[in-house]
């Protein structure tokens, strides 16, 4: 039988729809009976959405300008050829 810890181990695969039908079914049965796991799956889903909504840390503008500079130099060198 699928226990809470087993469910926790494959929770992301469940959320992403990566499980086989039989495993999906076992999880749904468990969720009907277990409110703790319902909370866990719900919370993990929100955590996943958080990552999608939270844009990644942007590199600082100083780095961008260094890159601009190097590209400008490389483009100029190429035009000379």
């Amino acid at each position: 039988m699928l226990m809470c810890k087993d469910l926790a181990e494959i929770a992301s695969d469940y959320i992403d729809g990566e499980l086989a039908t039989s495993q999906n079914l076992a999880i749904r049965m468990h969720l009907m009976m277990c409110r703790h796991c319902r909370s866990f799956i719900g919370n993990l889903r929100v955590s996943t959405d958080l990552m999608q909504a939270h844009s990644s840390v942007a590199p600082d503008e100083a780095l961008m300008r260094r890159i601009d500079q190097r590209i400008a130099e490389a483009l100029a060198a190429r035009k000379k050829d």
Partner: protein
């Protein structure tokens, strides 16, 4: 979804890059560098990763002429970064440290009893959506802090898969991990975020 529109915009940008348009490069650098940096950080420290990203942009100037749009510009750029990192590591003989043996975060694993039931169940239910939660600036800062504390491999997997919305097979390609190892990385990272949000929601502390 306006994917057709995005494809058009991407095509226009690629043509401009191929023509050596400086303004197009500035635009592309700002749009794609954060993702490229995330990929590089999978392999090396922050300073080396920044160097790699700079070097890659210079190689893009020549490489873009032969660009084939099968995979999309973002995936193509990320692959260039990954390959350059791998070559550099090979010459430095440095190994990337990864542990794929545990599916559960140790902190979460400890919350189950011997019969595999919850001993310390989730303490509350997050009843707001991610967008509403993120309106809280303190939580957003806390998320940043915890993201930077994640092991590099988990963070890159999370960034590429969730924040940069790559397909699994692209992420596997870029990071050179198997599909099953990618699943472990994603799951471990999400558990850390879950634990962080739980603490934050309960105590207001990061």
């Amino acid at each position: 979804m306006n994917t057709a529109l995005q494809k058009d915009a991407e095509h226009t940008l690629i043509v401009a890059l191929q023509q050596g348009d400086a303004a197009a490069y500035e635009k592309a650098v700002r749009e794609y560098s954060s993702g490229m940096l995330a990929v590089a950080r999978f392999y090396m420290d922050a300073a080396s990763a920044e160097d790699i990203v700079q070097d890659c942009w210079v190689t893009v100037i020549d490489a873009i002429e032969k660009f084939e749009s099968r995979s999309g510009l973002k995936t193509w750029l990320h692959r260039i970064v990954a390959n350059r990192c791998k070559n550099k590591l090979r010459s430095n003989k440095r190994e990337v440290n990864t542990d794929f043996s545990e599916t559960l975060d140790p902190e979460l694993a400890n919350r189950f009893n011997a019969s595999r039931r919850w001993q310390q169940p989730p303490r509350l239910r997050f009843d707001e959506s991610a967008d509403v939660l993120l309106e809280n600036g303190a939580l957003s800062d806390c998320l940043d802090k915890h993201l930077s504390a994640l092991p590099e491999n988990q963070r890159s997997a999370l960034m590429l898969y969730e924040a940069h919305q790559h397909k699994s097979e692209d992420v596997c390609n870029i990071l050179d991990v198997s599909a099953s190892n990618l699943r472990v990385l994603l799951h471990r990272a999400r558990q850390r975020i879950f634990l962080m949000v739980e603490t934050f929601q309960e105590s207001g502390e990061c």
